[in-house]
Symmetry: C2
Subunit: 412 residues, 2 copies
C-alpha cells in the first residue's frame, strides 16, 4: 500500500451497496456503533432500500439517501468507506470503483470469477492508495483466534497441514434462490468449483503467513457429480415444478488441495447441497500437535495423554486471543457468535486510524482467486493450476504487519 495519511477520524461515514439478508444484517450492526454514520445506501430493489432506510431512521433518527445505481453513491464526497454485501459476481467491480472514488472498499466474502479481476483489485488499490478488505468474519471467530494465538506461541510446532471446509446444507436456500432474489442459485446452475473458500481459507492463510513470508503456489480441485439440489427439488417441489428440469453444474462435493511455498499443504472441501449438520471442518496440524474441529479436540505431543484427544475447549480458554479476552469482558454482540461485529469493527477502526486493513488487498485477491482457479482445475480434469503471486515478489519480505488490536498477524 502507499502511505496513508495519519489523520484520525472521529466519525466514519459508510455507504452500503447491497441490502439483501447479509447487507441488512451488517447495517444493523453498524447502527450500534456511535462513531459510524450511514449517509447513503444502494440496492437494485426499492423495497430493500426503503426497509433499510427505515431501520436507520428508527435507530439513529436520520434517513440515508438511497441509490438504485451505486455509482451515484460512490460520487459522494461525504463517504469514507463502502461496504459491499452484493451478489458474488459484482463484488470486485464495485470494490474497484469504490477505491477509484477514494473510498476504503470492504467486500463481503465470495470467490472471484477471473484472475483478471483479482489483479484489478490489487492494481487499483496500489494506484489509488485505498485499502480493500474482504470482510472475512471467520478470521475473527473465537476458536480461530485462539488457534492463531496457540500457533504463534509455538504450541503446534512447525505447521505442516491445514484443512477447512464450507459444509453447510444450503439446499433450501439455493432452491428458493430465485424467489428470494438470492445470487447463489444462478452460480450453482452454471459454475462448478470451490465457490466459497474464504471462511476456512482466510484463517488458514493467516496461520500460514500467506503473503508475508509464504504464499499459495498451486492448487488442484476435483468435483463430484451433482445430485443434491435436483433430488431436493424433486422431493420437495415435485417433478412438475419448473426447477425440476434445471441442470445444476455445481458438484455436490468439491475438494481442493493447495501447496504452499514452504511446503505446507491445505485441503478444502465445499459441501453445500447434501444433507448434513454444519461444519467448517477445521484442522491444524504441526510437528507438535493437531486440532480438529469435528471432534472438538486437540492433541499435543508430550502434553496430552498418549494417543488421547483432549477437549479443545480447555485450551481455547487458556489461550484466549487478547482481542477476545477484551471482547468477552466488554460483552459479545451481533451475529455469528460475535465475529461479524469484530470484522466490521476492524474495518471501521482502520478507516478511523487511516491505516491499511488487517485483511489487505493481497489477502483478498489471493483468497478470492481460489474460486476461479478451482473452476479451471475442475474443468481440466484436476490439472494443477498456479496461484498468482499478487504481491509480485513482495511476499518474501513485506516487513512487519501493522500492529493493533484487530491485527490478525500480530499477537500483542
Amino acid at each position: 500500500m502507499t502511505t496513508i495519511d495519519k489523520t484520525t477520524l472521529e466519525q466514519v461515514r459508510l455507504g452500503v451497496v447491497g441490502l439483501g439478508g447479509r447487507g441488512s444484517g451488517l447495517l444493523s450492526l453498524l447502527l450500534n456503533m456511535d462513531d459510524v454514520v450511514i449517509p447513503a445506501i444502494s440496492d437494485l430493489y426499492d423495497d430493500r432500500m426503503e426497509k433499510n432506510a427505515d431501520s436507520v431512521y428508527k435507530k439513529r433518527g436520520y434517513k440515508p439517501d438511497t441509490y438504485k445505481d451505486y455509482r451515484q453513491l460512490l460520487q459522494r464526497k461525504d463517504i469514507d468507506g463502502v461496504i459491499i454485501p452484493s451478489s458474488w459476481t459484482v463484488h470486485a467491480e464495485i470494490a474497484i470503483e469504490a477505491m477509484q472514488s477514494g473510498k476504503y472498499a470492504a467486500m463481503e466474502v465470495g470467490g472471484a470469477s477471473s484472475i483478471d479481476e483479482c489483479w484489478d483489485l490489487v492494481k487499483t488499490s496500489q494506484r489509488t492508495g485505498m485499502p480493500c478488505m474482504m470482510l472475512e468474519n471467520c478470521c475473527y471467530g473465537r476458536e480461530e483466534m485462539a488457534l492463531m494465538n496457540m500457533i504463534k506461541k509455538g504450541l503446534f510446532g512447525e505447521l505442516i497441514h491445514c484443512q477447512g471446509g464450507y459444509e453447510h446444507d444450503l439446499r433450501s436456500e439455493v432452491s428458493n434462490g430465485i424467489v428470494n432474489r438470492h445470487y447463489r442459485f444462478r452460480n450453482y446452475e452454471n459454475r462448478n468449483g470451490e465457490l466459497y473458500p474464504t471462511h476456512e481459507l482466510g484463517p488458514i492463510a493467516k496461520y500460514l503467513n500467506i503473503n508475508r513470508g509464504n504464499r499459495l503456489l498451486t492448487l488442484t480441485s476435483m468435483s463430484s457429480k451433482s445430485r443434491g439440489l435436483h433430488k431436493y427439488i424433486m422431493d420437495n417441489m415435485g417433478p412438475e415444478h419448473h426447477l425440476a428440469s434445471v441442470d445444476f453444474t455445481q458438484g455436490d462435493v468439491v475438494t481442493t488441495m493447495i501447496k504452499c511455498a514452504h511446503g505446507e499443504t491445505i485441503f478444502l472441501i465445499h459441501d453445500t447441497t447434501l444433507p448434513r449438520p454444519y461444519s467448517r471442518g477445521g484442522r491444524v496440524q504441526g510437528t507438535k500437535g493437531i486440532w480438529t474441529e469435528d471432534n472438538a479436540s486437540i492433541y499435543f505431543d508430550g502434553i496430552s495423554p498418549l494417543d488421547q484427544w483432549e477437549p479443545f475447549k480447555k485450551y481455547m480458554e487458556t489461550y484466549e486471543h487478547p482481542l477476545w479476552k477484551w471482547y468477552r469482558e466488554e460483552g459479545v454482540r451481533g451475529g455469528h457468535g460475535g465475529m461479524d461485529y469484530l470484522v466490521l469493527r476492524a474495518y471501521v477502526e482502520s478507516i478511523k486510524n487511516q491505516t491499511d486493513t488487517p485483511i489487505d488487498v493481497y489477502d483478498t485477491a489471493t483468497w478470492m482467486a481460489v474460486t476461479c482457479l478451482s473452476e479451471e482445475s475442475v474443468a481440466t480434469g484436476s490439472t494443477p493450476v498456479v496461484v498468482p503471486d499478487f504481491t509480485n515478489g513482495k511476499w518474501i519480505d513485506r516487513g512487519q504487519p501493522l500492529p493493533g488490536k484487530y491485527s490478525l498477524d500480530v499477537i500483542e
Copy 2:
C-alpha cells in the same frame, strides 16, 4: 477368473512367507483354525523361522519345514495357498510366483511400486486360474461392514463422496525400523506418496462397487514437506545419532483425490509421521445422509433431528452386518478388534470351497496401484494420473459377485 474346480477341501494347507510381527500374528490366528495345516514357513532370518516353527509345534504338535528361500516353499505340492506378510516391495513378486506354482495367493496390505507389477498380478491370475487376495482386514471391520449394510439398504441414498485415511503416529516404529528389521524405514527414506492406502480405500472401493459397475478413473496427490521423522530423531535420539542426517523424502501428510467413473469422489490422507491419536478418518456421504468417523456420528435426512448428529453406535447395532451378527454370537477373536480373523477366514473358506476370493485380483491390483500412481502425481506437481482399468472393460458388466458368508459385495 477362469472356472475353479468345485471340489471342497476338508483341510487347507497354507505356507507363510514373511514372519515379522505381522506374519507371526497371522500365523497364531491360523493355528487356532482346526481345518488349517501349516506344512511350511519361510523368512530371510533364521531366528524368526525358529520362533514361529516352535509356536506351531506348541500349539499343534508338529513342526513346519522352514525355508530361507521362499521359492523352495512354493515348489511343494502339499500347499494350497500362500500367505505373504513380507515387506511391501516384494508382495507382488512372491504372489505372482505363488500363483504360477498353482497356489492361492494372499498378500498382506501395502502399495505397489509400479503399474507393471499390478498388471502382472492380474495376468498371472488370469493365466493360471489362481485367485489373488489382498488380506485387507479393514474390509471386515465391524463399523465398515455395518456401513456396507446401510449403504446396500439405501440409507445413504446415492453415494457422492467418501473419505478415509491412515492417520497413525508411526514415528517410533519407523525410526526404529532398521534395528527392528522393519521395511517402513527404507520406504520413508526414499519414496513420497500415498504409501498405505488400502485400509481406507478397500472398504470405500467396496461401497462404491469399484470393478463391478464402477471404477477409479483418475487421481491427483499432494505431499507436504517432511519434518516429523527428523524432528523425532533429533528429540529422542539426539543430533549425534547416525539417523539424524537421514534425508526422509516421504512428506508428513500426503493427500489424494480420486474420481470414479460414476462421478463419485474419494479423498485419502496418509498421515503417519506427526503426533496424533489414531484414526482412519472415514466419511461416507450420499444424497440422504452422512457418516463421519472422527466424531463417531451419523446424520440421515428426515430421520435425524434437523442439523444434529446422532451417535453412530446406535445405527451400527441396528444395521449390524450378518457376518458380524454371527461372529458376535460365536465369539469375536484375534487382533484388531476381530477383523484379522475374519479376513483370514474369508481366504481359507475360498480355498476350502475352491471359489474366487471376496477381494479378488482386480480389487488387489486397483487398490495397490494407488500407491505408485500417487508417487507419480506427487513427483509431477500433482498432475492427475489415470488409474488403469485392470479388468480391461469387464467392470462394466462383470455379473453378480460370488455370494457367500464372507462376501463383501452381497448382503445375504
